[in-house]
């Protein structure tokens, strides 16, 4: 079973497990496509320089090669790369995007070919307006080619556990003296809030001192509201230290 909101695609397996993909935004897709367009233009230019060598034998043949190769590169670029790299072109790879089947199944060659062959209609009348409008209207942000091929473009799943040592070094953790509250914290904290807290700690030096104090107070208040640790557990901890300690509890219990 598949369901989509404007930002994610959720797939429920017959085993009763739900996993989700974060859908790519039109901006990130546009940037990836722009990069791909530059790659296609660059490759075509290089090929035209190479085919010019054939002009030694026949200028007509060199022009023929140049015309045909530009066409082949512009059509085959997306198809071949998305097929060989399992749903990625160079642009998508750099921007962390991937084409996936709308039901989470393995991407088929015919799907890749179809979504790429429908680009001429998506790009009508100018600058992918038709495709952009379709992406705006469909719940999974699909352009017309994606609709026909049953594909969506999603952000690649980041699968690495963050390295907490630089931001929350392992030392005595007063919160772990209260395992029930620590477990509650892990259970109810919003993943997005946790990710936000990690970003705040990682980028702390970029904030002005007063703004930093304000930011960590708000984050610390949020975590305190989830698990009411007793005062002795928090004794001597600034808001920022409390947030770092909480992150340690969450990731390295």
């Amino acid at each position: 079973m598949t369901g989509a909101t404007s930002s994610s695609l959720r797939i429920a397996t017959p085993e009763g497990v739900i996993f989700s993909y974060r859908l790519a935004t039109p901006v990130s897709r546009g940037l990836a496509w722009t990069l791909d367009a530059f790659v296609i233009a660059g490759t075509s230019y290089l090929l035209s320089r190479l085919t010019a060598i054939a002009g030694i034998v026949s200028i007509d043949f060199a022009n023929f090669l140049s015309t045909v190769l530009f066409f082949v590169v512009s059509i085959a670029y997306g198809i071949v790369l998305e097929w060989r790299w399992r749903g990625q072109t160079l642009g998508k790879r750099i921007f962390g995007l991937r084409v996936i089947d709308v039901h989470g199944l393995r991407l088929q060659f015919s799907q890749i070919a179809l979504r790429n062959l429908l680009r001429p209609v998506d790009s009508l009348p100018l600058f992918y307006l038709a495709g952009g409008l379709a992406a705006f209207w469909t719940s999974s942000g699909q352009r017309l080619g994606d609709l026909a091929a049953n594909t969506v473009v999603a952000h690649e799943t980041e699968s690495e556990v963050p390295d907490l040592e630089p931001i929350a070094p392992a030392k005595y953790n007063s919160l772990l003296a209260y395992p029930r509250l620590a477990a509650r914290l892990r259970s109810v904290a919003d993943p997005e809030a946790v990710a936000f807290a990690i970003r705040a700690v990682t980028q702390r030096d970029r904030y002005a001192p007063s703004g930093r104090v304000e930011l960590f107070r708000e984050i610390a208040d949020y975590f305190r509201s989830l698990a009411p640790f007793p005062a002795e557990a928090l004794d001597g901890l600034t808001d920022e230290q409390f947030v770092r300690t909480v992150l340690r509890v969450i990731y390295k219990p």
Binding site: T13, E15, D60, F71, G104, Q108, A113, A148, N150, S159
Partner: protein, 326 residues
């Protein structure tokens, strides 16, 4: 519910790593058939990781670990639940896929043909009623002169107009015509309206040219000029139109109990086979148009060119009608 997250991770991590390794192997060598024990192991690992993912729901603050497991489960899910065979490029199956796809959707081809014929009739009627309308219906410089004058010029010329540019001309024809065929297919996503317009307009041009030349008493020149490449090019554009109408049919879904996504999934392979086949035909048509069609009597007798075109048409009909029949 997981009580001790550290122990949970310690126990399960080897299984996650093993599944990651199996999936990486499938990614790099997807054509290798798996043995029964390998399939059973993959299934076991998939179910185990699925269960881990479900258990992890009690720890909503594990976004990275959840992402890792979601990534593994989603990839394994795709491998296990996929019932369509992976693409295996074999020349025989590739050769058969095109005519078989064509025959499976003969109704769409007939409709494409009918729309083109209607366009032809309109173009014919318009030019016969109002010869001035050819400037609007077929705005190509080469067709603006009277047929009699053009034939006289073509038959008397001593110069080879395409000398030194035949290959370039051929390449331009190939790429342009393939773009038209692909666009005819892709326009099917507009509920078929774009495809119908394109086919009709193509027919209008053909009808207008036919009316102009046949009405001007230049039938032999017209067929000698058009048939060598047209007997392949026109069917190829019709095939693009056929693909567009198949796409439109899947989008509209008249009388089909399947949901839209399933309908698209059903026809995706056939659409690609037809368009790829049409593109191959247009490569041939481009070569013939540049190297044969542009040479007229007395260089190449019309009867020879017409016979050549008819032979091509029969060969194409035989290929599409009989190749790969079971």
């Amino acid at each position: 519910m997981i009580v001790d997250l550290s122990r949970f991770v310690e126990t399960e991590k080897p299984y996650w790593n093993e599944l990651e390794k199996v999936l990486a192997g499938l990614d790099t060598d997807y054509e290798r058939p798996m043995t029964l024990p390998e399939v059973q192991r993959l299934h076991y690992l998939y179910e185990r990781c699925s269960a881990d993912l479900a258990n992890l729901d009690t720890f909503s603050t594990e976004p990275q670990m959840r992402a890792l497991l979601e990534s593994l489960v989603s990839r394994a899910y795709g491998e296990i639940h996929e019932t369509r065979p992976p693409l295996r490029l074999r020349w025989r199956s590739a050769l058969y896929a095109f005519p078989r796809a064509f025959r499976r959707h003969l109704g769409a081809f007939r409709l494409a043909l009918l729309i083109t014929i209607l366009g032809c009739a309109f173009g014919w009627f318009a030019v016969r009623q109002d010869p001035q309308s050819k400037a609007v219906l077929m705005p190509f410089r080469g067709l603006m002169t009277s047929p009699r004058d053009r034939v006289a010029m073509e038959e008397n010329t001593k110069l080879d107009r395409l000398s030194g540019v035949k290959a370039t001309f051929s390449g331009e024809l190939m790429t342009h015509n393939i773009q038209v065929a692909v666009f005819a297919m892709a326009s099917g996503i507009t509920w078929g309206i774009g495809t119908l317009i394109l086919l009709f307009y193509n027919g209008v041009i053909l009808g207008a040219v036919g009316a102009d030349y046949i009405g001007g008493g230049q039938s032999a020149f017209l067929f000698g000029w058009l048939l060598p490449h047209g007997s392949i090019e026109i069917p190829a554009i019709l095939l693009g139109g056929q693909a567009g109408l198949i796409l439109a049919g899947a989008l509209i879904g008249w009388g089909s109990p399947l949901p839209r996504a399933a309908r698209f999934r059903t026809v995706a392979g056939d659409l690609f086979a037809i368009v790829a086949g049409a593109a191959c035909l247009l490569v041939w048509a481009g070569m013939v148009e540049a190297f044969v069609s542009q040479y007229h009597q007395p260089v190449l007798p019309y009867t020879l060119k017409i016979a050549f075109g008819i032979c091509e048409l029969f060969a194409l009909a035989a290929f599409l009608g009989w190749t790969g029949r079971e």
